[in-house]
């Protein structure tokens, strides 16, 4: 018998014994299908190895004050950006943000953020996961020279605890006043140490200004018992006050949206207004945050998604008193077609809303506009489709025009005027 034949015999014996072991195990778990049948199904898609934007799961786009469109993404523990001087028609070469590599959360509701001042300042904020599951820090880096160099990243949350700090959002004023909000688990961490039960995270605000050398971020708790896995939405009102819109936990795991406006110079914490009353009771993760846009008349416009007993789908409503009272929410998109992930922008009386739907095979990007401050909306229009997954769509603003930014992984990052 040749060595080759012997080797084949050994392999056959091995395969048959392995198969017997599998059959034996399958019999013990005969509710499960054949292991071999399962193994014959292999993943067809291999991981993307490059740093091109199509390899990214998420993209963040913002227009700089000079009109340049920046897009930012994370891959392989680095941040990359490109700049377009023609509203996204073409982009500069890819630039890696020159900071040390570190893990960056960039999927679904979590993604890096970018903002600008009017003095060539570029501001980056992201979340870096830590060694223990569900622990992370909010990070920050600043460029005073329009992205040529960046400061050594710092951690924004100041508790030095190995716990959750995530879902960061950032806005920066023309003068460089930075506001970063995030979901923070320091309180839950401390309560757990005391053997107390907790539910949800806390909403935190950090402020700094690198132009005036206020480089240590303040850390202020704004609310407690927030949902732990939905993005936050923020915007300035026309008094320069920060409005924050997030998914809160009311009562026994009722997940509704809440709104808070931070009055200038106010020392006491205002009580948030409850915005949605859809009664979505879930001790889990909706993974669907909302969006807020405030127009020149200080009219607050909001969109959100819920799957409650009372309300299901995407809803739009507005408020002329910072959320104290609200218009009757109207439904957006086709709920039975999986309408989800809404985002919005306002310009005067014009309101643009985008969202995604899903056909079972294709993702669809939809758009609807109101030209009368939300009293009525045009018929929804299908803008684009995606086959390999869909990032959340966002509307960005330039010169009183809305542009939609929709990243389609392994396909294309779409930027289009609405």
């Amino acid at each position: 018998m040749s060595i080759l034949t012997r080797l084949v015999l050994v392999m056959l014996a091995c395969a048959s014994l392995s198969l017997m072991a599998n059959i034996s195990k399958a019999a013990a778990h005969n509710h499960q299908p054949s292991h071999q049948a399962m193994q014959s199904e292999k993943e067809q898609i291999s991981p993307c190895k490059g740093v091109e934007i199509i390899c990214a799961k998420t993209v963040t786009s913002v227009f700089a004050p000079n009109g340049d469109l920046w897009r930012l993404w994370a891959l392989h523990s680095s941040l990359y950006f490109q700049i377009s001087t023609n509203n996204g028609a073409t982009f500069s070469v890819i630039t890696r943000v020159a900071i040390d590599k570190e893990k960056i959360s960039a999927r679904n509701e979590n993604r890096p953020k970018i903002a600008f001042d009017k003095y060539q300042g570029v501001y980056l904020s992201w979340v870096t996961p830590k060694e223990k599951k569900y622990t992370a820090d909010v990070r920050f880096s600043y460029s005073s020279d329009y992205g040529n160099t960046f400061t050594k990243p710092i951690t924004v949350n100041d508790d030095n605890l190995l716990t959750g700090h995530s879902f960061n959002e950032m806005l920066v004023t023309d003068e460089g006043d930075i506001s970063i909000v995030w979901l923070d688990s320091r309180l839950a961490y401390q309560l757990r140490l005391q053997g107390k039960k907790t539910n949800g995270s806390a909403l935190y605000l950090g402020k700094a200004n690198y132009r005036t050398n206020k480089i240590n971020f303040s850390n202020e708790q704004l609310a407690n018992n927030t949902c732990v896995c939905c993005r936050i939405a923020i915007n300035y009102n026309n008094h320069g006050e920060l409005a924050i819109f997030w998914r809160h936990i009311y009562g026994d795991n009722i997940r509704e949206f809440a709104l808070l406006t931070l009055a200038q110079g106010e020392s006491t914490q205002p009580t948030p207004y409850q915005i949605s009353y859809d009664h979505w009771k879930i001790n889990g993760c909706p993974h669907q945050g909302g969006a807020i846009s405030i127009n020149d008349n200080n009219h607050y416009h909001m969109v959100w998604f819920n799957q409650g007993d009372v309300g299901k789908g995407i809803f739009y409503a507005s408020s002329n008193d910072q959320g104290k009272s609200l218009t009757k929410p109207i439904s957006v998109g086709v709920q039975s077609a999986q309408a989800a992930h809404p985002h919005m922008n306002t310009n005067g009386n014009n309101i643009d809303i985008v969202w995604t739907q899903f056909t079972g095979t294709e993702h669809e990007l939809w758009h609807q506009r109101s030209t009368d401050n939300g009293k009525s909306f045009t018929k929804a229009i299908l803008i684009a489709t995606a086959l390999n997954g869909s990032d959340r769509p966002f509307i960005i603003n330039k010169d009183s025009k809305s542009y939609v930014s929709w990243h389609r992984p392994k396909q294309e990052h779409l930027v289009q005027v609405l």
Partner: protein, 159 residues
């Protein structure tokens, strides 16, 4: 090395491979597998549990399954990770091991095909997690979003 030594060495290695956690490897999920699971489980009551590495409450439900499996073994549970992201493969494996889920059939949604997979399981489900499907012996399925408490899981899985 003699032929017999080689043979016994080979058999020893393959016994180790064959009898150690046969279900340790998560398998890419597709529509045919869902149909197979449903067919093979006709006549029994079972649970299909969907989870993500980005869902803290999912871990609580996985921990309950771990606890029940330790107490009762051979629970009729199929576990499916919904991240649809090749980048989390190691995290997924760590969690499956941490919660001792390798005795169960583990699947995962294919990268970029998360919504497609979700849709063929249940077009009325929007991806909120954890998601538990209680499937009757007749094949009739009841989906529930959010953490399911231990008593309900015990009642369903332990007869």
């Amino acid at each position: 090395m003699s032929f017999f030594k080689k043979l016994s060495c080979g058999i020893f290695i393959c016994v180790l491979v064959g009898t150690s956690s046969s279900y340790a490897e998560s398998i890419a999920f597709n529509k045919a597998q869902l149909a197979t699971l449903k067919t093979q489980n006709m006549g029994k009551q079972w649970l299909m549990l969907l989870w993500s590495v980005d869902c803290p409450p999912c871990f609580k439900e996985l921990a309950i399954i771990q606890k029940l499996q330790r107490q009762h073994s051979d629970l009729a549970v199929v576990i499916i990770n919904t991240d649809a992201n090749d980048e989390i493969e190691n995290e997924r494996k760590d969690i499956i091991e941490k919660f001792e889920l390798t005795d169960f059939r583990n699947f995962h949604f294919v990268d970029g095909q998360g919504d497609q997979s979700r849709f063929f399981i249940d077009p009325t489900w929007y991806g909120e997690l954890p998601r538990s499907y209680f499937i009757e012996s007749s094949g009739k399925s009841h989906g529930k979003s959010g953490l399911v408490n231990q008593s309900l899981l015990t009642q369903w899985l332990v007869n």
